[in-house]
Symmetry: C2
Subunit: 138 residues, 2 copies
């Protein structure tokens, strides 16, 4: 199969007290700190309707991940059998896109404060999406 | 802010009866057909632990989307006010990554049949992730 390659252009970056992957929580609900999503001025119009209190899905590019890894011991636990990365949330995977559901706490122009984000400081943001409403409310 | 660019290398493609964006459902639960996720042989080890019956999150690269769009009328309805794309699920957005939660129906080597996927035939697949288990079952 002949596959194309696509360019991801980050639309912002995470500002967080987390700087060390080994010390970061594995998921946002495992003790991750609050953080800022800092958008590029060029996408100002894209974030204009995000509201304080809403839950959003943040997609990041986990730029410190290893892309040549196809199987891992889940949660870094050697007692767990090697598992294909597409059945794990390991950051190490062919396209290291992080998926984070967070609540918006505050908005200051291009800076959006969110609760419990496990991404490291400086992690590029590639997309933000709303949670899907139930079918009858779309 | 000086941003890097990252390369997405698709790990597979969608095989689907859907070929026309204008006729495709807007979300998987709005009448989308079953489809196949066809993986590249190179990532065989990565999909080895996906099981029939499980729910997975598929990330696609919506290669027919427009990337220079920052605001849209939600659901293509001109009566709805222009809304920043990061508050919508529009495929048109700076990094057109599709997010699809689907159930696995069948697995045949590199081919994984899934229920209700709204991605068009040929859409590149960039990642597959498990649904996060509740905190006490990880």
């Amino acid at each position: 199969m002949n596959q194309s390659v696509f360019d991801v252009h980050p639309v912002g970056r995470v500002e967080s007290p987390l700087v060390d992957r080994d010390l970061a929580p594995r998921q946002g609900d495992e003790g991750a700190p609050n953080a800022w999503l800092v958008s590029e001025p060029a996408v100002r119009q894209g974030i204009a309707n995000i509201t304080v209190g809403s839950e959003v899905i943040v997609l990041t590019w986990l730029d410190r991940a290893q892309r040549d890894v196809l199987a891992v011991h889940p949660r870094g636990n050697e007692n767990q059998p090697l598992t294909g990365v597409f059945s794990t949330r390991s950051p190490d995977r062919p396209n290291p896109i992080g998926l984070h559901t967070v609540q918006v706490l505050d908005i200051d122009d291009l800076r959006i404060r969110v609760r419990n984000l496990e991404a490291l400081d400086g992690t590029p943001i590639v997309d933000v999406k709303p949670i899907l409403e139930p079918l009858d409310q779309r």
